[in-house]
Symmetry: C2
Subunit: 184 residues, 2 copies
DNA sequence: AAATTTGTTAAGAAAAAACTTAATGTTTTT
DNA sequence: AAAAACATTAAGTTTTTTCTTAACAAATTT
C-alpha cells in the first residue's frame, strides 16, 4: 500500500520537474538555444552538479552529444565546470540564479551585437566617404551614399546604448533602479 | 571615364550596404533569427518599403520564401504591412528605429518567457503540494518535493522582474533612467 | 462575370543540423 | 612508463529545416 503511494509520489515529482524543464527549454528556444541544449540546461537546473555520464543517463543520449551540448551552454555562460571530490570525471553546474542567467546570457550577446555592427558601420562609412569625396561621380550617386552614411550614423546611438545597458547590468545599477520584488 | 567612375561608385555603395546587412543578419542570428530572415530584414532596413517581388528580386529567392520570411519578421514585430499607392501589391516596411526594434523584439519574448514558465511552475507546484500533503508517503520523498517546490518558488521573482522590465521599456521609464546619448 | 494578377499552401528536393558509433587524444592512476 | 578512465574529434546517418516548383485561392481589373 505504502509502496504504491511512494511510487505515485515519485512519479508526481518527476512529472512536476519535467514540466518545468520543458517550459525552460521552450523559452530558451525563443532566444535561439536549441531544444536539446535547453532541455539539458533545464535538467541541470534541478541537479547540484552533473558528470557527462549522468547527463547521458538522464537524457538517454550519447556522451558526445552531452559533451557538445554542455560546451554550448558554457559558451552561453550559463554552465560552468566544477570539481566534485570523489570522482575524477568532469562535473558541470548550471547557473541557478536566473538573474545571473540573464546577465550572462544577454550581456554577452548585446556586447557582441554592438561590436559586430559598429565595426561593419565603421568600415562601410569609410567606403561611402570615398564615394562622396571622389571626383567625376554623379551627384545623384553621391547623395545616395550620403543618405546611407547618415542612416548608419543614426544607428550608432543604439549600439552605444546597448553598451550602457550592459554596463548598468554588470555593475548592478539597473537593479537599483528596477529592484527585484521579494515576495513572501 | 566618368561612366567607369560611376560604376565603381555604385559598386562601393552596394558593397557598403551589403556589409551592414550581413552584420545585422549575423547579430540577429545570435537571437535565434535565421540567417535568411536576418538578411531579409537587413535588406528592408535600407529600403523605404518593399513588395514580395522586389524582395525576391534583391535576394534572388523564390516568392514563397519571401512570403514566409516576411511573415516571420511580422511575428517578431519588426516588419509591418503598409500601403503604397500606385501598386496593388502588398508592401512591407522594416522597423528602422533599433530602439523600437529592441522594444518590439525583446519585450515580446520576455513576456512570453514569463508567462510560459510561471504557468508551468503553477501547475507543478500544485502537483508537488499533493505529494507533500498526501498520507502514506515516505518523509524523504516529501522533503524532496518540498525542495523542488522551494526552488520553483525562488525563481518567481525573476519572472516578475522581467515583467517589470518590460513595463519600464514600454512606458519609456527605462530610457529616462538610461538615456540615449545623442552624439553629434 | 471572366480574366489576370498576386499571395499562400502543398509537395517534393536540397541543405543544414543534430545524433550516434567509432576512433583518437588526454589525463589520471598505478 | 603503462594502463585505464574519460573526453573529444571524426565520419557517417538520421532528422529537421529551408528552399523551390507547382497547384490553389483570393482579390482586382476589365
Amino acid at each position: 500500500m505504502t509502496d504504491k503511494k511512494n511510487e505515485e509520489a515519485k512519479a508526481s515529482i518527476e512529472d512536476a520537474k519535467a514540466r518545468v524543464i520543458d517550459s525552460i527549454a521552450e523559452t530558451m528556444d525563443l532566444y535561439g538555444v536549441t531544444r536539446s541544449a535547453g532541455t539539458l540546461y533545464g535538467t541541470m537546473y534541478f541537479e547540484k552538479d552533473m558528470t557527462l555520464d549522468e547527463m547521458r543517463e538522464k537524457l538517454g543520449m550519447s556522451k558526445p552529444s552531452m559533451s557538445t551540448g554542455v560546451k554550448k551552454l558554457e559558451d552561453y555562460n550559463i554552465v560552468k565546470k566544477t570539481f566534485r571530490k570523489g570522482t575524477r570525471k568532469h562535473t558541470f553546474v548550471a547557473e541557478k540564479d536566473f538573474f545571473r542567467f540573464f546577465e550572462n546570457y544577454f550581456t554577452k550577446k548585446w556586447i557582441r551585437e554592438a561590436k559586430i555592427n559598429l565595426e561593419a558601420i565603421e568600415q562601410s562609412q569609410k567606403e561611402l566617404i570615398r564615394v562622396i569625396e571622389s571626383e567625376n561621380v554623379e551627384d545623384d550617386l553621391k547623395q545616395e551614399a550620403e543618405e546611407y552614411f547618415q542612416q548608419m550614423e543614426a544607428s550608432k546611438p543604439y549600439y552605444h546604448w546597448l553598451q550602457k545597458l550592459v554596463a548598468a547590468i554588470e555593475n548592478g545599477d539597473l537593479f537599483d533602479y528596477l529592484p527585484v520584488d521579494q515576495e513572501e
